[in-house]
């Protein structure tokens, strides 16, 4: 054995003429082997840097787009759920011929008498189209704010679009055609801008004057239920007591939001799926079309003692390094885009179409399930797509190298 060679490392059968040695199956040897494979893989990636960089950029873009859609829709769902936490458990509307109608004030007492109901409040709200900005506002009476009949509080998006603020007057056209000037006394908190972007709050008197609503009716009635788990039972009792009413549960609103975001998310994914398919074809083509140099390299490695498993492990590391780098870069960029840059890319699709876009700052959150989903749709297909063609090359006989 030449001087300096690690004599004790290989357990050789010295009595044999051609010693067949077996490497010691230690954990350390396993880790060293993985380290060598990673070293070799990194060197191989750098040797073909132009092609691999191109692939990495496309891959990163793909992960970025998918992550952006998922992070944004998840963020919106979370935001909606947070805001709806404070919403009443049950809302009761009146239906006439299947359409929403104004609820009589007399309902308030009848609803209070239903067992399980702890509080009842008549609500006044509606929509107002402003031709000046071609947008619909949501108007709501807010008695708890103690506003005077000629005072109003407006949402931040409206203030931005109309370039008005506290102390200014907002002129609305009343139901009788006369202008109704309202003094702005406050702006709504921007933290709840998802819901309040186009919201106007005014007094009950001001609301009734604007829309010519009689004093004995409300838009709908909000109920607080003593035990929220009994909301469905309470709703059934309401339907019996008031046959022309429609009780709406908070859970149903949440489900509706979820369905809307799912639909929008699906729409975005449908568009992106074409891109995913194109990438899969590119990955397959890259692996299946291994260059003559790569095939020769695999042959050399096999001839000098690497087995098919070593080649596959090396290529697995290559796929894992490439796809995890793309995943981390794409996910980080998407995170920044969604939570710090206003999610400009997919906001029109996922927030909905509107004139008054809420300036929404979603709360950053780490969702492990979301990360796993993203890993499953990006990293796993890439590795699977590349492994089969590589396996076909790696199982070739190494003697091809000898024969040139």
């Amino acid at each position: 054995m030449p001087e300096g060679l690690d004599a004790c490392y290989c357990a050789t059968v010295s009595s044999s003429m051609f010693p067949v040695s077996v490497s010691l199956p230690t954990m350390r040897a396993f880790l060293e082997r993985q380290k060598y494979l990673i070293d070799y893989t990194l060197a191989a990636l750098l040797r073909r840097k132009t092609r691999n960089l191109g692939l990495l950029l496309i891959y990163t873009l793909l992960v970025f787009l998918f992550s952006s859609v998922l992070l944004l829709s998840q963020g919106l769902r979370r935001e909606a759920a947070t805001l709806l936490q404070d919403a009443p458990e049950v809302i009761v509307q009146r239906l006439v011929a299947g359409r929403h109608d104004l609820a009589p004030a007399a309902w308030l007492d009848r609803l209070r008498q239903i067992r399980g109901v702890s509080a009842v409040q008549g609500r006044l709200w509606g929509y107002y189209y402003d031709p000046a900005v071609k947008a619909n506002y949501t108007l709501m009476a807010a008695p708890e704010r103690g506003l005077a009949a000629d005072e109003i509080v407006i949402g931040a998006a409206l203030a931005r679009v109309r370039q008005i603020g506290v102390g200014d007057y907002l002129g609305l056209r009343a139901a009788n055609g006369q202008p109704l000037p309202l003094k702005i006394t406050g702006l709504l908190d921007s933290a709840s801008e998802l819901l309040s972007a186009d919201l106007l709050l005014l007094s009950e008197a001001g609301y009734r004057a604007l829309f010519a609503i009689p004093p004995d009716v409300y838009t709908d009635v909000a109920l607080t239920v003593r035990n929220p788990r009994e909301a469905r039972t309470v709703a059934e009792k309401i339907t019996l007591a008031l046959p022309d009413s429609r009780p709406i549960l908070r859970a149903e609103i949440l489900r509706t939001y979820d369905a809307v975001f799912n639909w929008r998310e699906g729409l975005a994914f449908l568009t992106l799926s074409a891109l995913l398919l194109a990438f899969m074809i590119l990955a397959w083509d890259k692996a299946a079309g291994l260059s003559a140099e790569e095939k020769r390299e695999i042959g050399i490695l096999k001839a000098i003692g690497w087995e098919t498993g070593d080649i596959l492990r090396m290529k697995l590391w290559e796929g894992a390094l490439l796809s995890l780098t793309a995943f981390l870069a794409g996910y980080t960029l998407a995170w920044h885009q969604v939570f710090h840059a206003g999610a400009a890319l997919f906001a029109p699709v996922l927030k909905g179409w509107a004139v008054l876009y809420p300036e929404l700052q979603l709360t950053p959150a780490v969702d492990v399930q979301l990360i796993l989903v993203l890993l499953a749709v990006s990293v796993v297909p890439y590795i699977v797509a590349t492994l089969i063609p590589i396996w076909r090359t790696a199982t070739a006989d190494p003697d091809a190298v000898m024969r040139g």
Partner: protein
Amino acid sequence: MIELNDVSKTFNQNQPNECRALRGVSLRLERGDVTVFKGPSGSGKTTLLTLVGCLARPTAGRIALDGRLLSNLPERFLTDVRRHTFGFVFQQFNLIRGLTVLENVMLPAYPLGRPHRALVNAAHVLLDRFGLAAKATSKVEWLSGGEAQRTALARALINDPAVLIADEPTANLDSALSQEVLALLGELAAQGRTVFISSHDPLVFEAAHVNRIVEVHDGQIAGDRRC
């Protein structure tokens, strides 16, 4: 001892381009010998070396190493035998471009997971021995023919194999470099290593340390003599 018993090798079997490279070869290769497989191009000597070195399996016949039958071993075990028993020096050197001389020399040891420091030391010892210490960090594509041949030789020895197989080691070298490589092979043989060389270069047959010449023609053994 390596024993070949009625070994045949056919490429592209049952296809229009079928080629019978070896036909019923029986041979007994002894320990410590420097054996040269001599023959013209296409005679089957390289195929014979690939079978002896476990790079391929025979189509028919048996190959045994120290009494252990190799021809029916699964690939994994065959690779294990190959990486520990044989070192290869290829005609075209087959060094991996883009890697340094040191990295190329260390490559066959990667799957064994030897400690990094020990492996680097072993590679440096071999590079020193073959006069390549100054080239350790050079990319292999910058090497001259002789340097590339010596790098290939160092790579073949990194796992300390008992048998060295050199396919046409002087084919791409001038006379001076050929003599240099033959001298190195002679040194290895003197240390007790078994050496198999395929060649049709008279310089190789006439080398002082060669003690057996096996002539191969049309896939069959045409002559076998001790020197």
